[in-house]
């Protein structure tokens, strides 16, 4: 992938100078300098929370910088809103696509700036024609009258890009564009990117997948803790350099001290597969792992690596689609539903507390006991005393901060809400706890508390399997680390074996590891 034009011919189109962004309590960007080259792919990489998204929000006009200056074509500009940024030719395709599935391709591409004829009627024909032309430029000959909801994710992404191009974007920001794409769709996207490049568009490409960055990038900028830790031409650097800039020079070995008194194997996952819906390939591809009593195993991987889907297979969310074998204390669970999995001794802490975890119309108490009601009843009667004393035990042991558990769940802070979800899982008396991103959306203090709870639970003999995309978290908590990539097992690290570099490398692909 040698750029056809020499690097000198890439003019700087946008420049950030000493840009800082302060949020209450944190400094997301610390005096960052960044140059964006036209006609090139400018790659941006960094750990979660390194400040990539904040930087892109500043460029796209979503956030205004607290300090510093933005230069566009050598002129100082204020990008006060997305509208202003758009007028300057800055387009952004978010990771979560902003399309209307119930509208057609053409309608989506011209939403908010419809072409209208006389009498304010939308000129559908003109829109369809223009949409077809834009898609043709991207070598996608889709019927503009198709509904967007009927398209594959990859095609939807192309629609978003075409929409941005249609608004004359000179700078196109792609935030993790490949996280939901299959391999052939990635190839198509790369062709489109190369085409845009040759037309002089400056592309910002954010991704966690290092092998992609090396293939497609011309310039690379690495962020860590809100600072730019390195920027270079891609051809001058290699993978080890990128990883070193990402995780820092003081790579620590976090593995826990040998206080692990592990019991026998409680959970055995063998050759579990989950086929994709409506497309060839697998979301979970022949995954195997095991977990012992008292052990904490961390599953690390990028977005879309199939970690959540693996949990769903184990937890009985896809009884009709998942294949393979999941054995909990010798009992086969594949093919059984969530309720029987809970009865067998599994418990899940879902990733998204809001949509999957809590029932917001219920009280703290009712949320806590929801999964274990049948254990609390006598002759079909749920005594208020029994219920509140059972819940009270967990309010105390998890130190959930409330003076009245019959208040609404909304009266708790995020961290305490998370503890309620954990408490509900524990009340079913599980043998194995599955935790999907247990520290998502809670502040640092609460994080530490949740981690302490996890360690304490492991000490009591519970097996804990948790998923995270936070490198430090997986290093600090796990007895063993399992790395997933593309739905497959990419690597396993025993106690004291893992280093941050090795884990990051493994999460990127097995191909790289073999090389």
């Amino acid at each position: 992938m040698i750029p056809l034009t020499s690097p000198q011919s890439h003019p700087v189109v946008l420049k950030l100078e000493g840009v800082s962004k302060v949020y209450p309590g944190t400094m997301a960007l610390k005096a960052v300098d960044f140059e964006l080259y036209a006609g090139a792919v400018n790659v941006l990489v960094g750990e979660n929370g390194a400040g990539k998204s904040t930087m892109m929000k500043v460029i796209a006009g979503v956030e205004s910088p607290s300090e510093g200056q933005i230069w566009l074509d050598g002129k100082a500009v204020q990008l006060g809103s997305t509208e202003v940024a758009r007028q300057h030719g800055i387009g952004i395709v978010f990771q979560e696509l902003n399309l209307f599935p119930n509208l057609t391709i053409a309608e989506n591409m011209f939403i908010g700036r419809e072409i209208s004829s006389r009498m304010y009627a939308i000129d559908s024909e003109a829109q369809a024609k223009k949409a077809e032309q834009l898609l043709g430029e991207l070598e996608h000959h889709l019927d503009p009258n198709l509904l967007v909801g009927e398209l594959r994710i990859g095609e939807q992404q192309i629609i978003e890009i075409a929409k941005a191009i249609g608004q004359n974007a000179r700078i196109l920001i792609l935030d993790e564009p490949t996280s939901a794409l299959s391999a052939p769709e990635v190839e198509i996207l790369f062709r489109v990117i190369n085409d845009l490049k040759s037309r002089g568009v400056a592309i910002v490409y954010i991704s966690h997948r290092l092998e992609e960055l090396i293939r497609i990038g011309d310039y690379i900028t690495v962020l860590r803790d809100g600072c730019v830790t390195g920027s270079a031409k891609m051809k001058d650097v290699d993978l080890t350099w990128i990883v070193r800039q990402m995780v820092g020079s003081n790579t620590k070995n976090f593995a826990r001290a040998g206080d692990n008194r592990l019991g026998e194997t409680v959970l055995e996952v063998n050759h579990v597969c989950l086929p994709r819906l409506g497309a060839p390939g697998y979301l979970v591809d022949d995954m195997s792992l095991s977990l012992r009593a008292g052990e904490i195993v961390g599953i690390y991987g990028l977005m879309g690596a199939g970690r959540t889907e693996l949990f769903e297979c184990i937890y009985g969310c896809h009884p009709d689609r998942a294949t393979g074998s999941v054995k909990l204390l010798g009992k086969e669970l594949i093919g059984s539903n969530v309720t029987s999995c809970i009865d067998a001794g599994l418990a899940l802490i879902p990733e998204d507390r809001k949509t999957d975890g809590l029932v917001h119309s219920m009280s703290i108490l009712e949320n806590l006991t929801l999964a274990s009601l049948w254990r609390l009843v006598t002759l079909g009667y749920l005594s208020p005393e029994v219920e509140s004393s059972a819940a009270g035990k967990f309010v105390k042991s998890l130190s959930i901060k409330t003076n009245n558990p019959s208040l609404e769940i909304g009266s708790l802070s995020g961290g305490n809400q998370q503890k309620v979800v954990i408490g509900r899982a524990l009340m079913t008396d599980p043998k194995v706890l599955l935790m999907d991103e247990p520290s998502r959306g809670i502040d640092i203090g609460a994080k530490a508390e949740v981690f302490k709870v996890m360690r304490d639970l492991a000490k009591t003999g519970l097996g804990i399997l948790f998923v995270t995309s936070d490198l430090e978290e997986v290093m600090a908590l796990s007895d063993r680390i399992v790395v997933m990539s593309h739905g497959q097992l990419a690597a396993q690290f025993g106690p004291n074996e893992a280093t941050q570099d090795a884990v990051v490398l493994a999460s990127n692909s097995q191909v790289l590891l073999a090389a």
Partner: protein
Amino acid sequence: MSTSAVSSLRSASTTTGDNALLLVLRLRTFIALFLVAGFFAVMAPNFLSAANALIMSKHVALNAFLAIGMTYVIVSGGIDLSVGSTVGLTGMVAGGLILHGLTIGDYVIYFNVLEIVGIALMVGLIVGAINGFLITQLNVAPFIATLGTLYVARGIALLSSDGSTFPNLEGSSEHGTTGFPLIGTLSLAGVPLVIWLLVVMGLGAAYLGARTPLGRHIYAVGGNERAAMLSGVRVNRIKFFVYMFSGFCASIVGLIISSQLVASHPMTGETFELNAIAAAVLGGTSMTGGRGKIGGTIIGAFVIGILSDGLVMMGVSAFWQTVIKGLVIIAAVVVDQFQQRMQQRMAYQMRAEAQK
């Protein structure tokens, strides 16, 4: 130090003010009931007499039965439009069995009244099971599924008699089918059987919602279906239950009406579903699911019943009654929204204070 003391005092006083207001809002259906009853006690003569109270209770009971079933359907996040038709169909099944028996080939089987009551109650359970099947297995939206069964059930009721009434359901002693009118006329300790039934049903349903896992699961499914599923709640079973329970309640009403009239007409129960929904909403059941109490619903049914009976006694025209009923329902929902927002605000306040 003094300023902080003052500010904490002020915040304390505003929260007590808020709490008092919230209490008033929570009890609003009750307050509305007293206001409506008080108004008519002054304005309409004979309103407070025992005889009138009994008559009104009988009127209210029919709607209250339907509203009890409807409440749990709505709490679970659904809606059941088919109850009115189920009322009609149940009456026709009971009436048909009493008058003509069941014809199988050359034989005609006559059941006794208890058996007929059992079969008639099955009608509601079957309609509810069909609703549950459509909603959980075929993923039909509850509104559409029950709209469909509304038409189908009504159509079958009309077909069963070619649109005519089954009259004179006294039954005949030679077939052993006598006694059906007793359901509507029997009294125990001076109180009609129907009212006793309502009391039993209401208490049972309230107990179910407050103190059984099944009831709690209904609230969980309506509050957050996915979270409920991941907590091990068998969502599909819960949905089957609420629709079958609603159908069962509708069948009870169908039996009562045909027994009281000693006749069954296929169009009985038209628009009853709307009155049931109105009673549930008036009683504080949230149409988005997850919130609602049987006690509130029954009070809601009484407010609607007293309103229409009282207006009749005052001589207000039926057309105006309809307008007034509509306005009361809208007002109830507006106040409900206000209460929701206020509760949410107080929850956030508490959360902020906890983090201080």
